[in-house]
């Protein structure tokens, strides 16, 4: 007689914990009952993200790079599980490689995106990139893992924290990635992952006054309405294309310019 497998419960990932939706709701997708997050779960996720922001933004770039690389190591160890969920081993390889690629950017972004500026006067003047804060990420529906990684990693590497709406139809790889994050050294709250209906949750995220950037890569339906909602606190609306580049990370970064007189 074959052994009955032990099934996984797919829950939300908020503040480093795996709660069920506060609404108690689930929806059946990919053969599992997945948490159907509510407006209040968005609220909780944003609150957790805000609490985690100073620590993550204030970590040294070297430390962030190490932590993110550790995530790739953990992903590598779960490749089989990811491949089973995505049905595409090549996608998993690409996702891990992309994560490693971004991890390596942590202590280089400021050198490529920053500058020292030769102003016409006795001042030292430099520009450094800084994280904008909380990135709301509406993850692409497909591919379920690489799509999410391509949007999440560039936000994290610059020191942002994230509230992610996972692929609605293929959320299991995303929740598994959350488990990877929980078992690597990423502090709780740096990434918060919600599963559920994007049409219900995305407007809440877009309108949230404590979210600083909104990535609409995976938004469906009325994205214009999401952009209009984002205007209420002048969110940075991110509309980057495919691929990987430091400018994908730059979309989530502010630039701070500092002046100081040069004198004796």
């Amino acid at each position: 007689m074959s052994r009955l497998p032990v099934r996984k419960t797919y829950k939300l990932y908020v503040g480093g914990k795996f709660p069920r939706s506060e609404s108690g709701r689930t929806y059946e997708v990919e053969g599992a009952n997945v948490a159907l997050a509510s407006r209040k779960d968005v609220r909780d996720a944003v609150r957790a993200a805000r609490a985690a922001f100073p620590g993550w933004a204030g970590a040294t770039a070297y430390n962030r790079g190490q932590v993110l690389y550790r995530v790739a190591e953990m992903m590598e160890g779960r490749k089989a599980e990811f491949a089973e969920l995505t049905g595409d081993a090549a996608e998993v390889d690409a996702a891990v490689d992309r994560w490693v690629w971004y991890a390596g950017w942590a202590d280089k972004l400021a050198q490529v995106l920053g500058s020292s500026n030769p102003v016409a006067g006795p001042y030292f003047n430099f520009t450094v990139p800084e994280p904008t804060g909380i990135a709301g990420i509406v993850a692409p529906e497909e591919p379920p893992l690489a799509g999410l990684v391509s949007r999440l990693a560039p936000a994290l590497v610059g020191g942002n924290v994230a509230v992610v709406l996972a692929s609605e139809h293929r959320p299991l790889a995303a929740v598994t990635l959350a488990e990877v994050l929980a078992t690597s050294d990423v502090p709780g709250g740096v990434v918060n992952l919600l599963t559920g209906r994007k049409r219900e949750l995305a407007p809440v995220l877009a309108a949230h006054m404590d979210v600083n950037a909104l990535d609409l890569a995976g938004a469906d339906g009325d994205t214009a309405e999401l952009e209009r909602l984002a205007a209420d606190n002048v969110k940075r609306v991110v509309r980057n294309g495919e691929g990987q580049s430091p400018w994908h990370a730059a979309a989530f970064l502010e630039l701070k310019t500092v002046w100081h007189p040069i004198g004796v």
Binding site: G121, P122, Y123, P261, I262, G263, V264
Partner: protein, 312 residues
Amino acid sequence: MAQAPALPSGFELPLEPRLPRIGSVDQVAVEQRAAALATRSIKRESKLFALDLAVRMMDLTTLEGADTPGKVAALSSKALRPDPADLTVPPVAAVCVYPNMVPHALERVRGSAVKVASVATAFPSGQSPTELKVEEAARVAELGADEIDMVIDRGAFLSGHYAKVYDEVRRVKEVCGPAHLKVILETGELGTYDNVRRASLLAIAGGADFIKTSTGKIHPAATLPVTLVMLEAIRDVHEETGRKIGMKPAGGIRHAKQAVQYLVLVNETLGPEWLTPDLFRFGASSLLNDVLMQIRKQKTGAYQSPDYFTVD
């Protein structure tokens, strides 16, 4: 500068008297402020007032190894009557000479409003034993100088021996008697505006009636920003204690236009109260003739030639 925390009764500071809070000066900002003030333009009537005032504030100076009784006599005559062709031009504030020349200057100006100032304390370097410097100041006072211009010991200051600097000022002040004490900081050797401010407060604490930028022997001598820093120190002391200290930029001021810029600086920093020879002096030699030329230009409307003004 109400900085001092309340101290328990009976508590004594190791150094006394206590200096006011020293603070610091930002070079770039102070130079910008001085440059901005230098662009002020003043009214025509005010210009005559300012030029007239500049004459009344002048310490007409000769401090040369080659000074002779004849040279000093000529200078003193010029001091009494700067422009023989225009008797409305007032006499200058003082003549400033070496100690040996004090009697010769006094001979000419005695009985007039023109004062005799003399340098002392191993001018210009100040690199002599304290006892000698104090003795020299006492002798200069005995010779009858109305004002004594001493130098601070920059060697002591720059090596951090502030107490020695302070102590010398205090001891010189004690032997000055009724003579006014001007303390020369020689700002061109101090290196930073922070030091200028520190030395200003040290000199004032030691008993200076005036603080003065320079000996005239070192370049740079007086500049607008250095003067601004010193005026701000004077202002802080006045606001803290009510004491009114005078200011004397010296050296490098050759043109009437510069003199007016200094007066603007004083007016903006300390207000019109300080626009008097009792509280502001110019230490200069060639400035006077340029001011005289400008006064005549203001009165006649014609630009002037130096051939019509005596070189003394």
